[in-house]
C-alpha cells in the first residue's frame, strides 16, 4: 500500500487535483472510516489520496428553513449541536446510531453519503427529510435532490472531479429514525427506517436502509398513510405494504423474512412516535 497524500486547502485546488488524476487511481479521503478498511484489505489501491480535512467545509449553519451541513463536518460535531435533537430528532437519532463515539469523531456526513452504503444509518433519514446535496466540480456548483445522487453501493452520480460540499436539510419537520441490530451499541443496522411528516399533503415521507442496492423512499407506503395522524388500520396497511415492497435481501446480518417482519414493526412504531409527538418533537 503506497500512495501520495494531498491535503488541499481550497475547494478549487481539491477539484483540480481530482480532475487531473487518472480515474481509478485516486481516492477521496474524508473521515476515512470506510476507505481505510478498503485500503487495508486491498480492495482499492490508489496511487493518490486527496484528503478533504483542510477544506473550509467543517461547518454547520442555519439558512432560512434549512440546516446546511458542511460535507466534512464530523458526525460528533453534528451530534453535539444543541438544537439538533429538537429541530431534527430523526437525524439526531440516526447520527448517534453510526458506529461508536470514537468513529463519529472521524466519520463525516459527506463521506457517509458518498459511500452510498445500503446499510447507512444516515441516508434513510436524509431521504425522508428531502435533503439535497450541493456539489462542486470543474464546471461549477450544482444542487441535487439526494435520490438523484445515489446509484448503488459505493456508486453515485458525481461526475469526474466533483465533490459533495454541503448537505441541505429542511428543518422543523417531526421525524423519527428506528433501527434494529444484533449488537445495539455498535453495529451495522439490519433495518433502519426513517419517517418524517410535512405540514401539508403529501404528509408522510418513509425511507429505508438495510435494503439492496441503496436506501430508498417507499412512495406506495407514503400514499397509504395520507393523513397527519393516520388511523391504526391505515398504519397497519402501510406496515404491510412496507413489508411487501421493501427491496430486502438475505445476507449475513439478517434474512429477508426477518427484515420484512422488522420493517412492519418499526414502521408502526415510527409513525406512532411522530404522529403522537408534539410539533417538532419525536424520537
Amino acid at each position: 500500500m503506497a500512495f501520495s497524500l494531498a491535503s488541499p486547502r481550497t475547494p478549487a485546488a481539491a477539484i483540480r487535483l481530482l480532475a487531473d488524476a487518472p480515474r481509478g487511481d485516486v481516492e477521496v479521503l474524508a473521515g476515512g472510516t470506510d476507505l481505510l478498511l478498503d485500503l487495508d484489505a486491498g480492495r482499492v489501491a490508489p496511487s493518490r489520496l486527496i484528503a478533504l480535512g483542510r477544506l473550509p467545509w467543517r461547518t454547520l449553519r442555519r439558512s432560512g428553513g434549512d440546516l446546511v451541513i458542511g460535507a466534512t463536518l464530523p458526525l460528533a460535531d453534528l451530534e453535539r449541536d444543541p438544537r439538533l435533537p429538537r429541530d431534527l430528532p430523526g437525524l439526531f437519532r440516526a447520527v448517534r446510531a453510526v458506529g461508536s463515539v470514537a468513529l463519529r469523531h472521524r466519520a463525516t456526513i459527506g463521506g457517509n453519503i458518498a459511500r452510498a452504503s445500503p446499510a447507512s444509518d444516515l441516508l434513510p433519514v436524509l431521504l425522508a427529510l428531502d435533503a439535497r446535496v450541493r456539489l462542486l466540480g470543474p464546471s461549477g456548483a450544482r444542487e441535487l435532490p439526494l435520490p438523484a445522487l445515489l446509484r448503488g453501493p459505493r456508486e453515485t452520480s458525481l461526475t469526474p472531479g466533483e465533490l459533495i460540499s454541503h448537505v441541505v436539510v429542511p428543518v422543523r419537520r417531526p421525524s423519527a429514525y428506528l433501527w434494529q441490530r444484533v449488537r445495539p451499541s455498535n453495529d451495522i443496522s439490519q433495518v433502519g427506517i426513517a419517517v418524517a411528516r410535512r405540514e401539508r399533503a403529501p404528509y408522510w415521507a418513509v425511507a429505508l436502509g438495510g435494503v439492496w442496492p441503496v436506501p430508498v423512499r417507499l412512495p406506495s407506503v407514503e400514499t397509504i398513510l395520507d393523513a397527519p395522524v393516520p388511523g391504526d388500520a391505515q398504519v397497519e396497511r402501510a406496515a404491510q405494504e412496507a413489508a411487501l415492497r421493501a427491496p430486502f435481501v438475505t445476507d449475513k446480518r439478517a434474512t429477508e423474512t426477518y427484515r420484512r417482519r422488522l420493517v412492519a414493526i418499526l414502521l408502526r412504531r415510527a409513525v406512532h412516535a411522530v404522529a403522537g409527538a408534539p410539533q417538532g418533537r419525536s424520537r
Binding site: 500500500m1 461508536s100 434494529q180 441490530r181 444484533v182 449488537r183 445495539p184 451499541s185 455498535n186 453495529d187 451495522i188 439490519q190 449475513k252 446480518r253 439478517a254 434474512t255 423474512t257 426477518y258 417482519r261 422488522l262 414493526i265 418499526l266
Partner: protein, 730 residues
C-alpha cells in the same frame, strides 16, 4: 495493586507484538485456497523474485531445513497432498518488511484440485446416528458412558422431555493476535512467543519439527490475552523453519483477520437431551452430543469427552447416559476457549432444567436445589463429589431474586443457571523460590496472560502464608532451558496448581530456617526494604540462618513442586472413549434479568448477579475482575458472538465488525459475590476462578428470556432474529 499495572499503563511492557531482534525478517503464511482438495503444485518463482524476499518455504524444503525433515507425519507443517481446511498454511515466506512478506505470500501460486467439503455436522448426521456412527470415516472421536437403568426410568416416568439445542462457534478475540520470533543457533531453536504455556509450545514445536525438546528453547513474552488459543504451538514451527531457511531471526504473526481463520475458534454443536421426571424428581437423563471438530486429527480431540461431562449438569440423577461424537469437517481444528465448551453445555442443560421446571410446575431454583450435587454425591461416572458450594450459591440466588422482584429496578424476566468446573492440574508444575535480603523471589516460566493469576495469584499465596506485603515478593521469568517446568496458564490452574508449588516451596524454606534456628517455627518480616526472619518474636537478619554457600548465592533457594491428581471415576461405566475426572468441584450460579422486545426479539440484559464458589478468596479484587470479565464474555456468547461458517469452509465474519463482542454499551450493572468454605484443591483450599464465571451466563440469559416471553430459544447466540423466530415462526 497488580505489579504489572504501572508498566502496562505506561506502555512499557513488552508484549508479543513488541518482539524484535537485530536483522529480523518478517514472516507470512500462504493459505490453502480451498477447504478440501488435493494439492497439485506450489509455484513460488514469482514470490522468490520479489524485492526483499529472503525465503520461501514449502513442504519440499523441510528435508533440507530440519535434521529429520520434520516430526510426526500426522502433524506435518505443510500438507503434502490433502488440504483439509481453507487457509491451512501450505507455504511460508520471510521478507525484509511485513508488507513485502504479505505481498510475496500473495504471489505464491497454489494450484489445488478442489474436492467437495463437509461444511457442517448435520451434513454427515442429520439425525442421531445409529451403529453407522462408529463406522463413519468422519468421526474422529466417540465417547459413551452409562449409569443406572435409563430405560426403566424413561418407562416409569410421568413425562419425558426431549429437546434439541444448537450452539455456534466462538472466536478467541484476545486483543493481541498470535505472534512469535524465532532464531536458530547451531542446532538449537530459540523462540520468543506470546503464549500461555511455554513448555507446551516447546514440546509441540519439537514434535512438529522432529527434534528433541532440549533443542527448542521457548521464552514467553507478556501476553495480550489468552483464553486457550495460546496454550499450544501454532506459529512457532513455521517461524523456526523460516529462520532456518533465511539464516536470520524471523517474526511471524497473524493479522486480526487471520486470527479469526487460524487462531483456534470453537465450533458448532448439536445436543439432544431427554429427561424423565416422576413426582418432581428427575429420574433419568440421556445426552447425545455431535461436536464439530473441524480438521482435528484423530486421537487429538479432547473436547467431546470433556464437554459431555458437563452436559448432564451438576445434578443427582439416578440413571444417566452420555454419548458423543466428534465429527471431522473442513473447518480449522477446534480450539479451546475459556472453559472449553462449558458455557454452551450449561446453556443446554440449564435451558432444559427450566423447561422441566415449567412442565412439572416447580420453581426453577427449587428444582435445582432438589437435585444439586452436594459433597458425597456421585457424578454420572461415579466420581465422589468433593466440597461443592452449589446449594449455597443457589440459596443466595433465590434471595437475590426476591430482592430484584421487590425493588422494581428491572422490568424483564429473571432467569437462573448453574455451572460447574474443576480446577485443572495440567501435567503439574514447579517453581523455584529464593529468600534473600531483598525479599522473596519466585522463578518460573509463565508470563502473566492478563487475568492476574501470575502477578497477583502467586504473590497472594506468599502473602497469605507469610503476611509479607506484595512489595516483598518478586516474580522472575525464565526461558524453558532455565525455568522449572510448568504445564501452563490454562484450566483455571495457575493459582490452584502452580500456587501449591509456591506454597510448598515457601513452607519448605520456613521449615528449613526454623530447623536451623532450633525453634518450632519462624516468621518473615519486611522492614525498610529488607527481608528478616522473626525468631521467638524478634526480627533477625536472614543471613544469620544462611550457610556460607547460600550467602554467596544470594539466598536460600527452594524448589516447590505440585503434581496434582484428579479423583477417580468408575471406569466400568465407560463403554467407549476417553472421559475426564475432576480435581475439585467449583460451582457458579448466575441470575440475570433481561427485557425482551416481544416483536423484534431484541434481548436487553438489565442486570446480572453471579455467585461463585471460590473455596477461599485469596484476592477478592482480582476475583471480582475475573467474575465481571467472565460475565461480559458470557453475555457475548449468549447474545451476539458467533462465527458465521458458510459453504466451502468460508468464514463470513473474520473481523470485529461482524463478529460481535460486547462493548461497554452491552454490559448492564453486575453484582458479584463469592462463597467460601467449600475447599478446593488449591492453596488454602482455593479454587480456580478464571473459567467458572463465564459458564452459567448464557443459560441464565436464556432462562430470563423464557421467563419474559414463555418461549425458549434453542440456539446460541440468541440474536434478535433467533428470538423473534422462537416467539413466532418466521
Amino acid at each position: 495493586m497488580r505489579t504489572d499495572a504501572p508498566a502496562k499503563v505506561r506502555g512499557a511492557l513488552q508484549y508479543g507484538a513488541d518482539l524484535e531482534a537485530e536483522g529480523m525478517l518478517w514472516g507470512a503464511l500462504v493459505p490453502s485456497p480451498v477447504a478440501h482438495g488435493r494439492l497439485v503444485a506450489i509455484d513460488a518463482a514469482a514470490a522468490r523474485a520479489m524485492t526483499g524476499v529472503r525465503a520461501v518455504v514449502t513442504g519440499e524444503d523441510l528435508d533440507r531445513l530440519l535434521p529429520k525433515g520434520g516430526g510426526d507425519p500426522a502433524r506435518r507443517m505443510f500438507p503434502s497432498d490433502e488440504l483439509t481446511y481453507r487457509h491451512q498454511p501450505v507455504a511460508a515466506v520471510a521478507a525484509d518488511s511485513l508488507a513485502a512478506a504479505r505481498a510475496a505470500a500473495a504471489a505464491v501460486r497454489v494450484t489445488a484440485q478442489e474436492l467437495s467439503s463437509v461444511d457442517g455436522i448435520e451434513e454427515i448426521f442429520p439425525d442421531w446416528p445409529g451403529d453407522e456412527g462408529r463406522r463413519s470415516p468422519h468421526v474422529v472421536a466417540h465417547v459413551h458412558a452409562r449409569r443406572g437403568d435409563l430405560e426403566g426410568a424413561f418407562a416409569s416416568a410421568e413425562f419425558v422431555l426431549s429437546q434439541i439445542y444448537r450452539t455456534s462457534g466462538v472466536a478467541q478475540v484476545a486483543l493481541e493476535p498470535h505472534v512469535c520470533l524465532a532464531r536458530v543457533e547451531g542446532d538449537r531453536y530459540y523462540v520468543r512467543t506470546s503464549t500461555q504455556a511455554p513448555f507446551a509450545v516447546r514440546s509441540d514445536t519439537a514434535e512438529i519439527l522432529g527434534v528433541p525438546e532440549s533443542k527448542v528453547v521457548v521464552e514467553g513474552s507478556w501476553v495480550g490475552g489468552g483464553f486457550g488459543g495460546k496454550a499450544s504451538a501454532l506459529l512457532e514451527p513455521y517461524a523456526v523453519v523460516l529462520a532456518a531457511a533465511a539464516g536470520r531471526p524471523v517474526r511471524l504473526g497473524l493479522s486480526y483477520r487471520e486470527e479469526f481463520l487460524l487462531g483456534r475458534s470453537t465450533l458448532p454443536a448439536v445436543v439432544r437431551i431427554d429427561s424423565s421426571v416422576a413426582g418432581g424428581t428427575i429420574t433419568g437423563r440421556r445426552v447425545r452430543l455431535l461436536l464439530d471438530a473441524g480438521a482435528m486429527l484423530p486421537g487429538r480431540d479432547f473436547a467431546t469427552g470433556f464437554a459431555i461431562g458437563f452436559l448432564a449438569g451438576p445434578y443427582r440423577i439416578g440413571a444417566v447416559e452420555l454419548e458423543g461424537y466428534a465429527v471431522r469437517t473442513h473447518k480449522p481444528p477446534f480450539g479451546a476457549h475459556r472453559a472449553p465448551f462449558a458455557p454452551q453445555c450449561a446453556f443446554v442443560v440449564e435451558s432444559h432444567m427450566d423447561a422441566i421446571a415449567r412442565r412439572a410446575g416447580i420453581d426453577p431454583i427449587d428444582l435445582r436445589l432438589a437435585h444439586a450435587w452436594q459433597e458425597g454425591d456421585e457424578t454420572p461416572l461415579g466420581q465422589r463429589v468433593g466440597p461443592f458450594g452449589l446449594r449455597a450459591a443457589l440459596e443466595r440466588a433465590a434471595k437475590r431474586r426476591s430482592e430484584w422482584r421487590a425493588d422494581g429496578r428491572g422490568t424483564g424476566g429473571i432467569g437462573v443457571a448453574c455451572g460447574f468446573w474443576s480446577t485443572g492440574t495440567g501435567a503439574g508444575g514447579e517453581v523455584s523460590v529464593t529468600l534473600s535480603r531483598t525479599g522473596v523471589r519466585i522463578v518460573e516460566g509463565e508470563r502473566e496472560i492478563g487475568s492476574g493469576s501470575v502477578v497477583r495469584g502467586l504473590v497472594a499465596v506468599v502473602e497469605r502464608l507469610t503476611g509479607l506485603p506484595p512489595a516483598a515478593v518478586r516474580l522472575e521469568y525464565r526461558a524453558t532451558d532455565a525455568a522449572p517446568f510448568d504445564s501452563g496458564v490454562f484450566g483455571s490452574r495457575t493459582v490452584g496448581a502452580l500456587g501449591r508449588a509456591v506454597e510448598t516451596a515457601v513452607r519448605t524454606a520456613l521449615a528449613t530456617l526454623a530447623e536451623r534456628a532450633g525453634v518450632p517455627e519462624v516468621g518473615l518480616v519486611y522492614e525498610a526494604k529488607e527481608l528478616r526472619v522473626r525468631v521467638r518474636g524478634r526480627a533477625r537478619p536472614l543471613a544469620t540462618w544462611l550457610t556460607a554457600a547460600e550467602r554467596k548465592d544470594g539466598g536460600l533457594t527452594v524448589r516447590g513442586r505440585h503434581y496434582g491428581r484428579s479423583g477417580a471415576f468408575d471406569a466400568g461405566r465407560v463403554l467407549d472413549g476417553e472421559f475426564y475426572a475432576y480435581t475439585d468441584f467449583t460451582a457458579s450460579v448466575a441470575l440475570a434479568q433481561a427485557a425482551v422486545d416481544p416483536e423484534t426479539g431484541a434481548v436487553r440484559p438489565e442486570r446480572v448477579a453471579e455467585f461463585l464458589d471460590v473455596g477461599v478468596a485469596l484476592d477478592p479484587e482480582m476475583i471480582r475482575s475475573q467474575m465481571e470479565g467472565g460475565i461480559a464474555m458470557g453475555l457475548g456468547e449468549a447474545l451476539t458472538e458467533e462465527t458465521l461458517w458458510a459453504a466451502s469452509g468460508r468464514l463470513g465474519n473474520p473481523g470485529l465488525l461482524d463478529y460481535r463482542v460486547p462493548t461497554l454499551g452491552e454490559i448492564p450493572p453486575l453484582e458479584t459475590e463469592t462463597i467460601e468454605g467449600y475447599r478446593g484443591a488449591g492453596p488454602f483450599g482455593a479454587k480456580g476462578v478464571g473459567e467458572p464465571p463465564i459458564i452459567p451466563v448464557p443459560g441464565a440469559i436464556a432462562n430470563a428470556v423464557l421467563d419474559a416471553t414463555d418461549a425458549q430459544v434453542p440456539e446460541l447466540p440468541m440474536t434478535p432474529e433467533r428470538v423473534a423466530r422462537a416467539l413466532k415462526p418466521l
